[in-house]
Amino acid sequence: METEVASSEKPHLPNRLGVKGWVWAGRYTLERYLYTLHRLTGLGLLLYVALHLGANGFRLGGEESWTSAIDFLTNPFGRVVEYLVMAAFAFHALNGGRLILQHLGYTLGKPKPPIYPYVDSMRRRRPLTWVMLAVIVALAIYILVEFVT
C-alpha cells in the first residue's frame, strides 16, 4: 500500500476553488486581483482584435461597405466599446510592463533572511504598483476627456 496510489483511491472530498478563485478567494490585497484584471483585459483585447480583424473584411467590399461598417464607431455604443478597449489597453500594457520586469525578478529586491513581522517582496514593492495604477487611472481619465471632446 503506497501512499501515492492510496491518495487517489481514498474517497476524499475534492475542494478545489476553480475559476471562482480568480474572482474572489479571500482577503488578499492587490496583486491577486490585478492578476484577474490582467487576464480579463487580455481576453477582452483578444476578442476585440478578432472582431476588429473581422470588420476589416469590409474593406474588401470597397469604400461604401467600409464606411457603413465604420459608422458603428460613431454611435454611442461603439464609442463606449472603443473607450473600454483603450482603457483596457492602457491597463494591460502598463501592468504587462510591470509583469515583464517582475517575472524576471527585477524590482523585487534580493532574497534575505526574513525578520518578523515578515514583509514579502510584493508587499515591499507595492508603493510602486500603486503608482503604476495611478498612472493607469490618469491615462484612462485623459483618454475619456479626449473621447468626450
Binding site: M1, E2, T3, A6, K10, H12, P113, P114, I115, Y116, P117
Partner: protein
Amino acid sequence: MEAVHDVVILGSGLAGLRATVEAARVSNDELDIAIVSRVQLMRSHSVCAEGGTAAVMYPDEGDSLELHAWDTVRGSDFLADQDVVSLFVEESPKEIRQLDHWGIPWSRRPDGRINQRPFGGHSFDRATFAEDKTGFFEMHTLYDRLQKHARVTRYDECYVTSILVENGVFQGLTVWDLTSGEFFLIRGKALVIAAGGACRMFAFTTYSLSATGDGMAMAYRAGLPLKDMEFVQFHPTGLVPSGILITEGARGEGGYLLNNKGERFMEKYAPTKMETAPRDIVSRSEVTEILEGRGFSRPDGLDYVHIDLRHLGADKINERLPLIREVAIKFAFIDPIEQPIPIRPAAHYCMGGIHTDIHGATPVEGVWAAGEVSCMSLHGANRLGSNSTAECLVWGKITGEKAARYVMGQKSLAPIPEQKVQEEEKRLFEQVGHGDGSEDVFVIRTELQQMMDKNVAVYRNGPDMEVALDKIRELKKRLEHVKVVDTSRIYNTNLMAVLETTNLIDLAEIIVLGALTRTESRGAHSRTDFPNRDDVNWGKHTLAYYTPGQEHRFDYIPANITMWQPVERKY
C-alpha cells in the same frame, strides 16, 4: 489487509529519517523500506529543536573529543555509559559534515566555515546551529534527501498501536491509518523504533502535542525493558504560559536570567558557568528563586523569572534568535528586543527509554531503537543541551545501517500473527470505541498532567510521589470506563487521545516507581529527602520490565565507567 517490507522504521523524527536514509543508502535502494509516522513525516516533534547540535568541529582551536566526552560524562552526573559517550563524540562531527553536504543552511562564521555557539555544560562553543531552528532545518534537509530514494514507502499519519514480538523475534506493527480509517498489519524483517519522548504527561512542557511516548509504551508491552525512566529533564526556559521553548541558545548567546529584584541569580548557584550551567542546575536555581519569593507570580500558579536579551541588541537577536523573537511576540506579546521574557522550567526530555546496547540493538532480535525513545545510555542522569539532536543523527545512522545489513543477510519474515492482529483491532475499535462509558479522556489526561507537574517535578520527595502513584493508579482504573463519542474510523482524534493517554499513564507509573526507589539525587532526579548523590548504591541504571497482569518488575545494571571515576560535580 497487510503490507510487507524489509526494514520498517517507526517514527520520522530526526532519528527515524536518518535511519531511513541510511538504510536506503547502504542497501543501494535495493531494500524495501517503510517509514511509519503518526504525523506527516516532516511534522515530527524534532522540528521544534532550536538551539544546536553538539560536535567537535574545531580540534585545532582548542576543542577535543576527550573534552566533549568529559563534558557529557560530567553533565550526566556520572551515570552515562562512557563507551557510548566515546562512540558518540567520534561520530557526531561526521554527521554535521554529512548534513552540510546534503544542503543544510548551517550558520557560518565570517570565514565561511560552520559556526558554533556556547551551550550549557559544554566547555567549548560547540553547538553547531542553523539560526535558532536547528532541528527544523535538520529535519527538512533529511526529509528532502529522503525524496531521492525511490524504494521508500511512506506511511504518513498512520498511528502504530502495537509492536508484535513472538519468542524474541520481531513480527510486525499493527497500524491504524488515520486518513483512510483502515487497520492493518505491517510486516517486516527488521524494525527501528524512533518514536520519540514522552513528556506530554506533563502540562507545562516544551513538547509537541504529538509526542506522547507511544514508542516507549508499545515497546514495553512488547517485552522490551525501559531504562532510567525516572530521569526527566526540565528545561530552564519554557515560555509562560504556553511552555513553548526559549532555546538554551538564548543563554548561550549571552542572555541573562533575572529574578524579581533584577539580579543575575545564577551567580549564587554556578559562579563560573553562570547561565550556561547544565540544565538540571539552572532549573533548580530558578525553582529555588521562585520558592524563596524572588520570582514573579501569576494567578494561574505559573510563577516565573525573566530571561533578558535586551543587551544583545536587535541585530544579534534577529540574526541568531529570529524564531525566539517571533515566538515571544506571537505567544506572549513580548518583543525580546524591548522587554525581558517570562520563563520557568518546563518538562523537556526523557533521558530514559528503551534499553539498548551501544549500537542501539534491543534484546529482541531484529529490533533497534534510536533517538529519544532509546537509552544506550548517553545522557545518564542529565542530558547536555545539543547532545540530543546529535544523538538522533548518530544512532539514526548506526541503527539504519545495522538493520539494513541484518536484512541483507537473507533474513526471512516471521509468520503472520493473525490472532494478535484481530485482538488488537478489537481492543481499538470495540472495547475502546464504545460511547456509553462514564469517563472523559480529556479530563483524565488533564488530571494526569497537572498532578505530574505538581508532584514529579524539578524537586521531588517520597510523600509527594506516593500521592502521585495513587493518583496514577486511580486514573488507570478510570480510563477503563472511558467513553469515545466519535464513532468514525477516519481521523478519530478522540480515540487517539485514549490510546495516547493509556501510554502516558503506563509510563508515568514507571517513572514514579523508579523515582521512588532511587533514594538519591543525581542529575535531573533531585529528591529533597535524599539530597546527595550515592555512587555506592545508585551508580547504576534502572531497568523496568513488563509482566502482564502483575506489578512492574525492576532490575538494575551498573553504569559502564571506562574513562573517569565519578567525582563531585561543580560548575
